[in-house]
């Protein structure tokens, strides 16, 4: 009967073009990022991809990317968090007061700040999850409250500089254990290890899937994709190795991306957040504790916002009352450029990261070209709109 025919059809691999067509949403933004990078590389006469600038690119965007990861979870769960910029600023101020005014060691300051961020996120999440107060309202209130508290804490002034150990959070580099530091052999080695690990994991999961008779990705596509990823990572680490090596913050980011990709893709908690965002009533009736999950996504967001605040403060080497101002907009834009759905239930960590990089590369590239901040805003706005239109268009075509 028909069932048998279709079930055998499933097992054979789709062709590369069919596969690409059905995954245009997944790869569209990655391709866009590559195109944008290529464009600026050309327009800036190669300045964009210079090791110095690449290093800067990571340092400049690390805090946006870290918050975008948390924001992705919040948006997938069907909410929004407008307070992240203010929270990041507040935590930076708190860190400055602790480290500079009270001379507390970094080893104390960092965990306390992360904990405070977690509590702030949890407090907001409590009202949203258990009292069903719209996230927009709660976090709008949070945005005002923590902006105000930042001013109070700093008494309207900047506090700095931070002790050296604290600055390492952002401006530090992984020391070269193998060589003289130029080129930085450690960076190269780590790059090769990361690339091999990714390829190894991909191959293993493909082999396991094949054992179950499942073949979704055409083999040629699999090879090309992983080869490109490996080459990109190794090339990047080579470029960075010719400057000062791998920034600490890059490692932090990579680890966070890996952890949260794993959580969203492979754990029950991740799966349940997607279910909750997709249909909260159905999720609840399937035995999912939707309130607790909502609470946790906001607590997590608070913690990541705190981490971003620390890194930003460390990078500027001062805590200023304006720190974190309007960050929430960049973060939210990054998540939506990365393909998340406004109504929840759809979005990927790696998408949000790519979205943040698109914004970051554009900021950086346009600054190198000397485009004024006025036009930068206009262009970024249009890119956000275009990305979402592209997404909606693809969705409609798929119907």
């Amino acid at each position: 009967m028909t069932t048998k025919e279709t079930s055998t059809a499933v097992q054979s691999a789709p062709s590369v073009t069919d596969y690409l067509k059905s995954h245009v949403r997944d790869y569209g933004m990655l391709i866009a990022l590559v195109v944008i990078m290529g464009m600026f590389q050309f327009l800036t006469d190669g300045i964009l991809m210079r090791p110095v600038n690449l290093t800067n690119l990571f340092l400049q965007n690390s805090y946006i990317i870290i918050m975008a990861i948390g924001m992705l979870l919040v948006i997938v769960a069907g909410h929004i968090d407008l307070s992240v910029g203010s929270v990041a600023g507040f935590i930076g101020a708190l860190a400055a007061v602790m480290a500079v005014n009270y001379n507390l060691p970094t080893i104390v300051v960092v965990p306390v700040c992360l904990l405070v961020g977690l509590i702030i996120g949890g407090l907001q999440g409590y009202w949203i999850a258990y009292w069903k107060i719209p996230a927009f309202i709660v976090t709008l209130a949070g945005m005002l409250v923590f902006r105000g508290l930042t001013l109070t804490l700093l008494e309207g002034q900047s506090i700095g500089p931070f002790p050296e150990s604290f600055q390492l959070l952002s401006t530090g580099f992984i020391p070269d254990v193998f060589g003289s530091g130029r080129p930085n052999i450690t960076a190269l080695v780590l790059g090769v290890i990361a690339a091999s690990a990714i390829v190894f994991l991909a191959a293993r999961s493909r082999a396991r899937a094949l054992k179950y008779g499942i073949q979704d990705e055409p083999f040629a596509f699999f090879i090309v994709k992983n080869a490109l990823i490996a080459i990109a990572i190794i090339y990047l680490s080579y470029m960075l190795s010719t400057y000062r090596g791998l920034p600490n913050v890059l490692i932090t980011m990579a680890v966070l991306i890996a952890i949260y990709t794993f959580i969203t893709n492979s754990t029950t908690i991740g799966r349940r957040i997607y279910a909750l965002g997709g249909n909260v009533k159905a999720a609840k009736l399937s035995g999912i504790n939707t309130e607790r999950l909502t609470f946790l996504t906001f607590a997590n967001m608070g913690m990541l916002a705190a981490l971003a605040g620390l890194i930003f403060a460390a990078r500027l080497n001062t805590a200023t009352p304006k720190a974190g101002f309007a960050f929430e907009l960049d973060v939210i834009a990054a998540v939506f450029i990365g393909g998340a759905s406004m109504t929840g239930g759809v979005g990927k960590v790696i998408g949000a990261v790519i979205g943040a990089f698109i914004m970051g590369v554009m900021n950086n590239g346009m600054s190198i070209l000397g485009i004024g901040i006025d036009w930068q805003q206009v262009i970024k706005g249009l890119v956000l709109l275009a990305a979402v239109i592209f997404d909606v268009y693809n969705k409609q075509k798929a119907r």
Partner: protein, 507 residues
């Protein structure tokens, strides 16, 4: 010569990869009620979207002749201008606007850009009188029941000077008496010369009002039957619809009743918002292993409230009473606890409450029992896929792969996904709330077979349904519910529609 108001000639419509319609023909005579039947996914809605211009001219092949002239609609506005008006299953009313405002939405009585309210209200009163709705024009639509909203939709069509009215499953959500009223209204409109196309799954409605029938199957018109020229039995229609003979609408089962699985006693529940309103009164019932127990009753009798309150107190406040499963008192105060105790609840509204539409079949299948495919909180997607694939084959879910998003499935297949989910939670007792609503005949039969299989496996099944024949055909025992109380209990042997109705009426 007969007077043909609408003729659709060899309409072919393809979507990427799918041929939804394959040279379909449809001929509607002037002043008749023409029934359009077919399984879900057969292409009825697509055909009507072609007719009403949702799929504009040029996106399909074939011709549409309306009043003997070829028409080419580029949108709904064009077709409405000609008097072709479609009333969708999901009503297109704004619940926070009044009846009068809704009737003339997009078609306002304006003078120089300003709405003439007196005229609007008086015209509304005329139209409401025509459809037999006794409501003030200023009543908010949201305050009306579904049956009355349906009438408002028809009045709205009349306001636009309708020539051909298309109703997509208008009675799917209606009570029996509301359905009857609606069908009477169609006959009345017919007397006034308005033709209609009626899409429905309810064959008794067809034999009541239809003058002719077109059956569509797999995107092709299979047959057109004239109800006056020949004597058409329901079995004839069903055979055309599913393409096979269906001797029995309900699969047979030898009931093997075991021990008592579930015992509910002294179950009292109050309204979630109005705490002084008691919604359920002293409900007591039992379910045995291998038994299918029906709960009959009108909509609003408290059936869904009963099911939801049992299932983790998802409905109501101040829930009191005792539930025993396999003789032991269980705590059902939250959904996870209810699932753990061995209870499953297949909701009435699968799109709103049962499924994550944006997600795949695979994801939906394991949602209620994720720990079973994971270790230490990490999901093994290969096992998960195997599981969902097994259910896809066991329940015959028609889809190319389990990676299909459930929003792309037809109603019957969606319902099978919901059933997969709850079967995978390994319950002892399943409560099925309207398990065949909005599902075509062929898929219904499959759902019935699944229910029988569950009973044969020794599970207890509680089946809530508004369709009495379905309960009579499927259940070993039927409880009758009315206004929050169980008012009677009937064994299969002596249950009949009349007895159920009289228990409801006399209670």
């Amino acid at each position: 010569m007969e007077n043909i108001i609408l003729e659709m000639r060899s309409i072919t419509k393809t979507f990427p990869g799918v041929k939804a319609l394959d040279s379909v023909n449809l001929k509607v005579r002037s002043g008749e009620i023409h029934a359009l039947v077919g399984e879900n996914g057969a292409g009825k809605s697509t055909l009507m979207k072609v007719l009403s211009g949702v799929y504009p001219h040029g996106s399909y092949d074939g011709d549409i002749l309306f009043n003997n002239e070829t028409v080419a609609f580029s949108g709904i506005r064009d077709s409405e201008a000609k008097g072709i008006i479609i009333i969708h299953q999901e009503l297109a009313l704004v619940s926070l606007l009044s009846i009068a405002e809704n009737l003339f939405l997009g078609n306002e009585n304006v003078e120089g850009g300003v709405i003439n309210w007196p005229k609007t209200f008086s015209r509304t009163q005329d139209l409401l009188a025509k459809v037999g709705l006794k409501e003030s024009p200023s009543t908010l639509v949201g305050q009306l029941g579904v049956g009355k909203q349906q009438l408002v939709e028809i009045a709205k069509a009349l306001a636009k000077d309708v020539k051909l009215l298309i109703l997509d499953e208008p009675t799917a959500a209606l009570q029996e008496n509301d359905s009857a009223k609606l069908l009477d209204l169609l006959l009345e409109l017919k007397a006034q010369g308005i033709s209609s196309i009626l899409i429905t799954h309810k064959l008794n409605e067809i034999s009541r009002v239809a003058d002719s029938i077109t059956v569509i199957r797999d995107g092709a018109s299979v047959s057109t039957l004239d109800c006056h020229a020949q004597n058409i039995s329901e079995e004839d229609i069903i055979r055309d619809m599913v393409g096979r003979d269906m001797a029995h609408r309900y699969p047979a089962r030898d009931s093997q009743l075991g021990e008592t699985l579930m015992e509910v006693s002294g179950w009292n529940v109050w309204h979630a918002d109005a705490l002084d309103r008691q919604m359920l009164h002293d409900i007591e019932f039992t379910v045995r292993a291998g038994e299918v127990v029906g709960i009959a009753g009108l909509m609003g009798s408290g059936r869904t409230e009963l099911a939801m309150s049992l299932f983790g107190q998802s409905y109501g406040k101040n829930v009191q009473g005792e539930v025993r499963l396999r003789g032991e008192i269980v705590d059902l105060s939250t959904v996870p606890k209810a699932i753990k105790s061995g209870l499953a609840y297949v909701t009435e509204d699968r799109k709103e409450l049962g499924l994550i539409l944006e997600e795949t079949i695979q994801t939906n299948t394991t949602l209620a029992n994720l720990p079973r495919v994971s270790s230490f909180g990490v999901i093994d997607e290969n096992i998960e896929r195997q599981v969902s694939e097994d259910y896809r084959q066991a329940l015959n879910i028609r889809t190319p792969s389990v990676f299909q998003k459930v929003m792309n499935l037809s109603g019957g297949n969606q319902q099978k996904v919901v059933l997969s989910k709850w079967l995978y939670s390994q319950p002892d007792v399943l409560i099925l709330d309207e398990p065949t609503r909005g599902i075509d005949v062929g898929a219904k039969f499959e759902i019935y077979s699944i229910i029988n299989q569950l009973a044969d496996d020794g599970k207890g099944v509680v089946m809530i349904s508004s369709e009495m024949p379905e309960l009579l055909g499927m259940c070993d025992r039927i409880y009758v519910m009315n206004e929050g109380r169980l008012v009677g209990e009937l064994d299969k042997a002596d249950a009949s529609q009349e007895k159920i109705m009289s228990m409801i009426v006399k209670a």
